[in-house]
Symmetry: C2
Subunit: 630 residues, 2 copies
């Protein structure tokens, strides 16, 4: 086959061995990048039951054969490891320029094993890769560490993916940061990196020039610029960023507020919305390698918030804002900056803080425990203070650094109800009451609650002739709904098929804003074109969807080995209580209906309804029979 081999850099920090190996194209084609490749390597080599923070854990950075091609929405890197937050397979994705540079240096994946005796960083320049001491960088915040690395290498153009102090301190939701503001955010991958004493992976700037069919490729790459001009979804995104969602969700009654006790935040929504950001602190827009969309916010508050650290996305505005009842945008921007400096996942951080606030307000935590800090909803001061304490594992921050679920176990049984998490990972800011298909995916997603692993229900309410609906129809999803709440067979199929679609996007490192259906820039068929024009891969959506399905099943298989079962696929009880106020007042999920929907999901997915795990035949059908022989 003409599918390229994968070139893998394999670094054992225990003995400082740096090896190069390759995976033949006909194998790579089954797991063509991202965490599909990551979990493949892990399942091949890592035994079950290891401690995620032990040297036995593997940490895989991977891109795809498409990464670094000069087209919008392709520069994504995925980190795969056993998650210290969830205990499941961990998967975490980031954009920026690092991913394109890594691939342009010739690498499809970097595997990190073992633990360095002393802090170290990995430096990659083409075929040359070396582990260097990083004692002088340890303890430094991201901006400072990146500056030092560039300076000592006399190279301002290096790409640096690093942990901050939070990762060093093994905060279970520490992330990996590149460009000081792009995060492999979720699942605590930064803690794994910290446990290995690895401060950073540093990559020399490079560009790919190997385009398979230049003419076809530039047609495809150029078309997006044309579409951008008239695209309302993206011009809206350009104008107000993802935080533009605040307004829509507030108006619908589904802006998660005060640790999800409400979907209604009338006193704060307008103040923290994307529009408010545009009108106040927005400095400029930023983008990833070769991307014409420029969706990223950069904010500045002189003397308080440095544009170096970017700006808050919708998830961050919600988790550090409405989750905590905070309606001060400057405080959110500052907390966001701190998360990026220390290397903390903003969603889990905000979710854990709002959890603590509810515990505090309900008397489960005392002022003594918090060291005098008043953890009241609405207190921006408390949020900012807690971010610092968590990153440093100081005082009550040491408890919260474990994430809301482990913290709840320490605080007491009642507190468990206030941990709004699945598999220990805090919920992103999309309410299952409004988006039941997303709710199903929260429950079943192999690495805990995630909002970027499937399409969202309201998409099916767009006009039939819209691009988004036309494109969904390419993957067989063309039933429209008047309201988003319905759960029926077709909605569950929407959940699962769009999950496979997103899983494929994540495997190929394609940005879902650009290549998913919802932003109307490129559709599924364009991905097939891209594969052909970019690398001469003659594929189809049939093969690609199966790639996505395969990745999910490998991840579930990993989890099954670790003892996860159906009981771990749940939604927090709160989702089944009626919402108390606002436009969504009274709305709640139905427990029985949800359990039946899960049953249906498992059956459609080919998973055992008792255990929730892929059946042997499902694995075999997906060319994963080798797992059963292991």
């Amino acid at each position: 086959m003409s599918f390229p081999d994968a070139k893998i850099l394999d670094v054992n920090l225990a003995n400082m061995e740096v090896k190069t190996r390759s995976l033949p194209g006909d194998v790579y084609r089954l797991y063509p990048g991202g965490s599909a490749l990551g979990v493949y390597l892990i399942l091949q080599e890592m035994p079950p039951g290891i401690d995620p923070l032990s040297p036995d854990n593997m940490l895989v950075f991977s891109v795809s054969p498409l990464t670094g091609l000069p087209v919008s929405g392709q520069s994504r890197v995925v980190v795969t490891t056993k998650s210290p937050l969830t205990g499941t397979i961990g998967d975490s994705q980031a954009g920026g320029f690092f991913p394109a540079a890594l691939k342009a240096n010739g690498w499809d994946a970097v595997v990190i094993r073992g633990r360095a005796e002393k802090p170290a960083y990995l430096y990659i320049d083409g075929d040359r890769a070396e582990v260097r001491p990083a004692g002088h960088l340890w303890g430094k915040v991201t901006g400072e560490a990146e500056r030092l690395i560039k300076s000592e290498n006399s190279d301002e153009k290096l790409e640096v993916a690093q942990i901050g102090p939070a990762g060093e301190n093994l905060v279970r939701f520490a992330c990996i940061i590149n460009m000081n503001n792009r995060a492999n955010g979720r699942n605590g991958t930064g803690a794994v990196m910290g446990s290995k004493n690895l401060k950073a992976v540093v990559v020399k700037k490079a560009r790919r020039t190997d385009i398979y069919d230049k003419e076809l490729f530039s047609q495809l790459a150029g078309s997006v610029k044309q579409r951008l001009k008239t695209n309302e979804a993206v011009s809206g995104l350009g104008e107000n960023g993802t935080a533009g969602d605040v307004t829509f969700l507030q108006e619908s009654g589904y802006l998660p507020t005060r640790n999800w006790t409400s979907g209604h935040f009338p006193e704060g929504a307008d103040k923290i919305s994307g529009l408010a950001m545009t009108e106040t602190i927005l400095k400029e827009r930023d983008t990833c390698f070769a991307c014409a969309v420029r969706c990223k916010r950069v904010v500045e508050i002189p003397g308080k918030v440095d544009p170096l650290y970017g700006g808050p996305e919708y998830e961050t505005v919600a988790s550090l804002g409405s989750y905590c009842g905070v309606s001060d945008l400057e405080t959110i921007a500052l907390a966001n900056q701190l998360c990026n400096m220390y290397g903390l996942d903003t969603i889990s951080c905000g979710g854990t803080i709002s959890f603590a606030m509810e515990c505090y307000e309900k008397g489960l935590i005392t002022k003594e425990q918090t060291g005098g800090l008043e953890l009241k909803f609405g207190s921006g001061e408390a949020v900012v203070k807690l971010v610092e304490l968590i990153a440093r594992r100081e005082g009550f921050g040491a408890v919260l650094a474990e994430g809301s679920r482990r913290a709840a176990e320490k605080i007491g049984k009642e507190a468990l109800d206030y941990s709004i998490s699945v598999k220990g990972q805090e919920l992103p800011a999309h309410m299952p009451q409004f988006k039941p298909a997303v709710g199903i995916i929260y429950a079943v997603n192999p690495f805990g609650a995630d909002h970027q692993s499937s399409e969202h229900d309201p998409l099916l309410m767009s006009p039939e002739e819209s691009n988004e609906r036309k494109w969904l129809a390419q993957i067989g999803l063309w039933k429209g709904y008047e309201d988003p709440y319905v759960i029926d067979d077709e909605k569950i199929r929407f959940a699962i098929d769009s999950q496979c679609f997103f899983s494929m996007l994540d495997t190929l490192g394609l940005c879902q804003f650009v290549w998913g259906c919802s932003w109307e820039l490129y559709g599924p068929s364009d991905i097939v074109e891209l594969c052909k024009a970019g690398i001469g891969w003659e594929t189809s959506l049939f093969e690609l969807m199966r790639v996505g399905e395969r990745r999910i099943n490998m991840m579930r298989y990993f989890n099954a080995r670790e003892g996860f079962t159906r009981k771990d696929d749940y939604l927090p009880d709160r989702m089944f209580d009626p919402l108390p106020d606002g436009p969504s007042k009274g709305r709640q999920m139905d427990k029985q209906q949800f359990a039946e929907a899960l049953d249906t999901y498992y059956k459609f997915a080919g998973w055992d309804t008792e255990t929730g795990n892929p059946t042997g035949e499902t694995l075999r059908r997906l060319s994963l029979g080798w797992l059963l022989q292991k």
Copy 2:
């Protein structure tokens, strides 16, 4: 959605009511043509348990939204009904000019119900459709009836799909013939037509002009002409027709001989091969509407065989030739002509005659029973005579007109072993010992043994860089094999995925020579292009493969309603005996391995391993939940 509505002509012969109705595009898109549409209509309206030859049976002619577009390999019509041969859903496909003309007259399907009091034919001219008397045509052979119809309408350009005397006499493997030589051959659809007293469906010549994207379309349509020039598979096909296979299969040891007691026919193969045909009786090549391939043979033997009736395909050369030990090409050509005149399926006809010959040679039938006819292997005379007797249901022909399995039940238990059939349908001339994936499909195919419902195993032996392998890889099938015999998970996936692919081709009425992978003319991705260029349907192979899967599952569901279960999915015992001679000497299928392969197939397909029927969740996953509510 922009998917077109289906326009359906609905004719009730009981009261001569002719109605027009339409199926909305968003429903049609789920069942977009062929027997997918046919079985949809039947499942909607026809109760289980009816006698296939009663007026209660429905007979559906259907094409697809692509039929009649001016591109190679699209003029196919499918007839769907409950089969009088198998008792399962019946599906039978034909090429020619009739299909394109039917669609160009504006029709996507013609449904026939009831039974006319007197022989009748249906005449269609655009929106106008009428039932006309056909008493004067009854009893006429096809060539004569077609001549009369054209003459009485003063229109030489009419397209006529008709039954011959065999259909009138309810021979259970009677077919429907158009152009006097294209057959909706299998499953006895001609008998159903006969039971309705319907002699013919006659369509006025017409041409489509509604091409969605003319430029893209002509690029696509033109490319095949270019490929044809250098295409070895097709130039071989052009040179010696499908009967060219005789040589390859004889050399491999897998030319079914003397009722499948051997795969070795050294005394006859050369004499009946495609090459022999080319060198002796071949007159010219013929083609279907707009097709550049011209695969059809036309033979002539002055005073004996009329070119009007075309020429024998490989299946016919084998079934009326090597199956019966007959090595005289002229006799085969004559028997083929008789089958086309009388309207008999050549495969079941040859298979039933060779069955009778074995019974005779083994003493289970006496010369008395046959009316003095010596049914010895090798007797061309007996073959020709039996074709006539069967068509007329005269003498011993009346027994054989029931097909080999029903005949065996009359002859005696031992004879059942000699009926080389699945679900009562005689095996086509591809040996499961050589092609185990085809063998699996023989067993599970909803309408009995069929060789055109999946790709054949040896395809996986072509070079990796061949188009056929590249295209198979588009549907995720890229494992190569050094020999064809292996049965492993990937081979079973090849069976099932290629079955879904062919099922989709059959639904869209696309010729598998042109649009399948094996002839290297168009590949799967070109079908997606065709849908877009031809009718503006933006689809993907993901959607299309599911269309194919849906059709198979609907058919299996139909069968389940009729009481079919796993016990009906078998191969004749003979396949598990060692072959006695020739290059394949000693080769046999393994019973245990085959049973396990079936298990795996069911599991991969989402069918119950006990019953072999689609599970409820499989139906629901395929948007067929409505069947469960019925």
